[in-house]
Every structure is written in C-alpha cells, then in structure tokens.
Symmetry: C2
Subunit: 163 residues, 2 copies
DNA sequence: TATTGATAATACAGAAATGAACTATATACT
DNA sequence: AGTATATAGTTCATTTCTGTATTATCAATA
C-alpha cells in the first residue's frame, strides 16, 4: 500500500532548509519510483510460478507484440528498457529454456534475430490470465477516463526527458 | 527521449492475439517503467561526480528531510523503496564515507539510528543545485497545474496497490 | 579496393540487489 | 516469571545488472 504522506512531509522539510527544492517535480519523481518498485515486485511475484521474472516476462511480451514475433537485441533493449548487455544475458536464458531462438540476420550479418518459439507462445498464453488480473488490480483505483488522462500526462513527461 | 509509439503498436498487436489484454493498464505500467529507468539513469549521471549513485542519493535526501536528520533502516527502506538488506549495504557505505552515522537506539535496542553528519549535510547542499536543475528538466513539459493533476492520479493509482 | 568510422552484439569483471537464514530484542499471554 | 510470537537488523550466497572492452560487420569515401 505504502502511505505517501511521510514522503510529502519530508519534502516539505527539505524545502524549509533548501527553498529552491522544487516540490512538485520531486513528488512526481518519488511517486514514479514507488510505483515502479511495486510494479516490479508484483510482477516478479506473479511470474515466479512460471519460472520467470519481471524482465524476462517483458522480453517475451515485446516479442509477442512484435511483427513476426521477432526483434533484434537493440530493439528489445529499447523496448524493454534494459541495457543491451543485460538483454544478451536475459535472452540467452530464454533460449536455454526453449522459449525463443537466436539466429543471425540475413540482410545484416551484425544483427541477431530473436524469435518467439511455439513453446514460448504457449507459455505466454498460459500466464496471461494472471497478468491480466494483475494489470486490472494495479489500476483498479482509476476510472477509464482517469487512465487516459494519466497516460497523456505520463507521455508528456516522458517526452521531456533526455535533453 | 524514447519514442513510445512502437510500444503502443506492440500492445495493439498483443490485443489482436489476446483480446482480454487490457490496453490502458498495460500502457500505464510500461510508461511508469520507462519513466523510472530514465529517472534512475539520469540521477546516476548527475550524482556520479559526487561519488554517489541514485539509491545513495535517495537515502541521503530521506535523512535530510527527516526530523532530526535521523531514521531507522526500516523507515528508510520504506521511504526510499529499497529492500531492508539493501539499506544495510547502502548505509554501510555512506557510513564509511563519513556522510552518516549508525548508532543503537536508546529506547528500543533492536533499532538503529542513522543520522546525517555535518559532512553529509555539506555534500547534499553541494549537489542540490544540480538535482534541482535535473528535476526541473525532467518535468519541463508539464505545466504546474498538469503536475498537480499528474500527482493526484499517481497517488490514486499507488493507493490501489498491494491488495 | 583499402581505410576510416559507425553500428550490433557479446564477453567479462565488478557493482548492486534479492531472498533466506540468523541474531537480538521487545511484546503478549499464560 | 516464563514461554511464544513478532519486530528490527544483519549476514551471506546467489542472482541480476552495469560499464567497458572486444569482435564482427556494414557504410562511406578517398
């Protein structure tokens, strides 16, 4: 659950000492962090019975949603928000599990094509009901229109990054 | 920057194959993840010159905002969104750096009091200008009132977790 | 066609985070 | 008081992640 009031109190104290500290941005960043940690932990919990963790789940879902169920490591890194070196490790494990395959690309020999296997597909459709439940639970406090507003604002915020 | 359009395309594909997959919750969760990764990486970047990383920065800021500049490891774990075992490691390092102190609590001998030192305070006020810049940059696309709306919705979403 | 520079991926060593087991103290109950 | 239970922290082994160097291929150009 995580009560957010103490966090706000701390930020207020911080501003007392250091007036230039921007309250709203600080609150937003801390909220994002707390939300992510919850998302991460809960997804790990749901996936554990399937022998997977949250990042592995993400990789599989990116492929599941990709054209031809295939992507390169770089694309995957970008899509899943993982470092490239980490994608190598994660996909190696998924290969070993027989959920995806790794093959050199035809047109560009530097590239690697990671493709979902039938077994991977089956596993995904096996755990998806649990994930769907989880997603609904994690957003249960928001009405559909609130979800849309939130989506728009998060996108806007994200677009401001990186400059 | 991270273009979010491909993510949405993938989610649409996913729904084609698996109609029960809830679009909006999925988008929200992926947005939170992407935002967090950016926040994390950028904070790491800003703190590096000060010999600290993002989690260590967080710990220090929690203490800076706490009454008496002191907290227990458990409180700190909760506040910073870190696992207790990780807080032990992080605070040990901060102790070694002379930025905080660790002392047994008077009233409850199980508890430990972590307190910011003068050196810690000085360091914080040294790096805060950079952090303030970062926070403003990360929210530059949002108007003040949008920030308030976003804050409200994130809090609402967070409150729905954990059940 | 050589050379230069960029891109894709991996390897590997070191850093960070997690779960589970353990120690110590406090609280509740009989 | 004595025992059971819960809470606070730490330790340690394992897992996960990151940064940097390296290999291989491609693209541009002289």
């Amino acid at each position: 659950m995580s009560d957010f009031a103490p966090t706000e109190a701390r930020i207020n104290n911080t501003i007392q000492k250091y007036p230039a500290f921007p309250r709203d941005p600080a609150v937003l960043v801390r909220l994002v962090k707390h939300l992510y940690k919850e998302v991460h932990d809960e997804a790990n919990g749901v996936m554990k019975p399937y022998g997977l963790n949250h990042p592995e789940y993400n990789i599989l879902m990116m492929l599941y949603g990709a054209a031809g169920n295939a992507m390169n490591p770089s694309q995957l890194a970008d899509a899943a928000g993982e470092k490239l070196a980490n994608v190598t490790r994660l996909t190696t494990r998924l290969c070993d599990m027989g959920l995806i395959t790794r093959a050199a690309s035809e047109d560009d020999r530097r590239k690697v094509e990671l493709t979902l296997t039938d077994a991977g597909m089956v596993l995904i459709e096996n755990f998806l009901p649990d994930i769907v439940k989880l997603l609904h639970r994690q957003t249960r406090n928001l009405t559909p229109s609130e979800q849309r507003v939130l989506e728009g604002l998060l996108k806007k915020m994200l677009a401001g990054f990186g400059g």
